[in-house]
Symmetry: C2
Amino acid sequence: MQLNPHVSVDCVIFGFDGMNLKVLLIDRNMGLPPKLQKAPKSLKLPGSMVYDDEDIDTAAVRVLKELTGLENIYLQQFHVFGSPDRLKNKADLKWLQSTTKMKINRVVTIAYYSLIKLHKSLPCEGKVLWNDVLNLPNLAFDHKEIIQKGLDVLRRELHNEPIAFELLPKKFTIRQLHILYEIILDTNLDSRNFRKSINKWGYLVALNEKEKNVAHKPAQYFKFDKRIYHQKQQEYID
Amino acid sequence: MQLNPHVSVDCVIFGFDGMNLKVLLIDRNMGLPPKLQKAPKSLKLPGSMVYDDEDIDTAAVRVLKELTGLENIYLQQFHVFGSPDRLKNKADLKWLQSTTKMKINRVVTIAYYSLIKLHKSLPCEGKVLWNDVLNLPNLAFDHKEIIQKGLDVLRRELHNEPIAFELLPKKFTIRQLHILYEIILDTNLDSRNFRKSINKWGYLVALNEKEKNVAHKPAQYFKFDKRIYHQKQQEYID
DNA sequence: TCAAAAGTGTTTATCTTACACCCATGG
DNA sequence: CCATGGGTGTAAGATAAACACTTTTGA
């Protein structure tokens, strides 16, 4: 009886390309000499063992920082996956042991979800795969299940927290927001009613700027005003 | 660098005595010879290390079973507490090492909350302390913080899941339910409107039984009908 | 002038909230 | 007969849902 599994964090990093909700996957073959690469891709979520004396939240922040160069991005712990047979796939176990150089029997992983604004300029561009969340390939470990649960949580939280803006550029049109909501919630929303609810929120403010070079009436840009949001939250509590 | 903290589960077990929301605490002095007992009580949440080859949910179920004799009770993972300085209190660390007989530097704990029906006949009665959640004494480790977070989650989930009934006897009056809601949500609810919302739920059914020997108009007993509840959930999805 | 998306109001049904009195029972 | 909680209805305001047309732009 040894009673101490290893503990890791895994990050489900969501991104939105304007059309679809994406999740960031990394390929374990990447960086290996070509002859060692497996024929099929070997995809997984970004993650890491939690270091000694490192808080678990800090470990998740570190994973994101190392991968994307970004700090201060939205990150939430959402579930622990600790089934003893998470490592039942021999290839997964072998990879873990060879990359960590440790004898590992069991890993309990703490899953985080994260929301980032997609840019071509992210330092990870080209080194990672942004895969459609609705059409996932086979993944290592139980990572498919982790993504599914993360998506469920994202869907629920969308009603409670102003998180959609984490996935959009700083300035965005109502249409972009509308599409994002429809995709995350997998439903159709009436656009007049959608605009009405935005007005009721009160924390989206119109910028002095419109779309340019579009073959239709140009749309107003908006931004999310954190100050107004927090102010209204406070009023609600009182 | 060893990279493997120990992993435990801790259970925040809520109970309702008709007046207040309680949480189950155990005393680490219990069972020790009197001369070894610390002068102040040494209270903590029930918990356990996760055994090798044991799923974490299973570990939480085991803790509950061992303590209360009950199975099939409501249990939900809600947060991981993994700060490296959870064991900064020397007395806590010493206790851990002496009860587990292991050299332990760090414990990452997965917190569950659980809802049970209080009975005088629970096998743990007398061996544990049911403490008011709103007036907690000092507790070992970060257990006070864990309970606080558990209460927050309970409050939120009360709106989403039919969990109040897990805290009440199988048959209960509207008044009991009403008081429970007021206590969990820490607010006053209008009783006519409260009854109206119950009618709208549709899954509370009146039994052919009323209170007896009460010095007022006897109240109707109700039960929670799981079948109707699931049926309505299903209709909602379609 | 056409295609494409932007933007705008009204009506109806539903839900929420506030509010006051009589009833049944045991002591 | 009194104290205690049980149980009931209504009106006003807020919210949610359905629904169609005009505007601005680039091609």
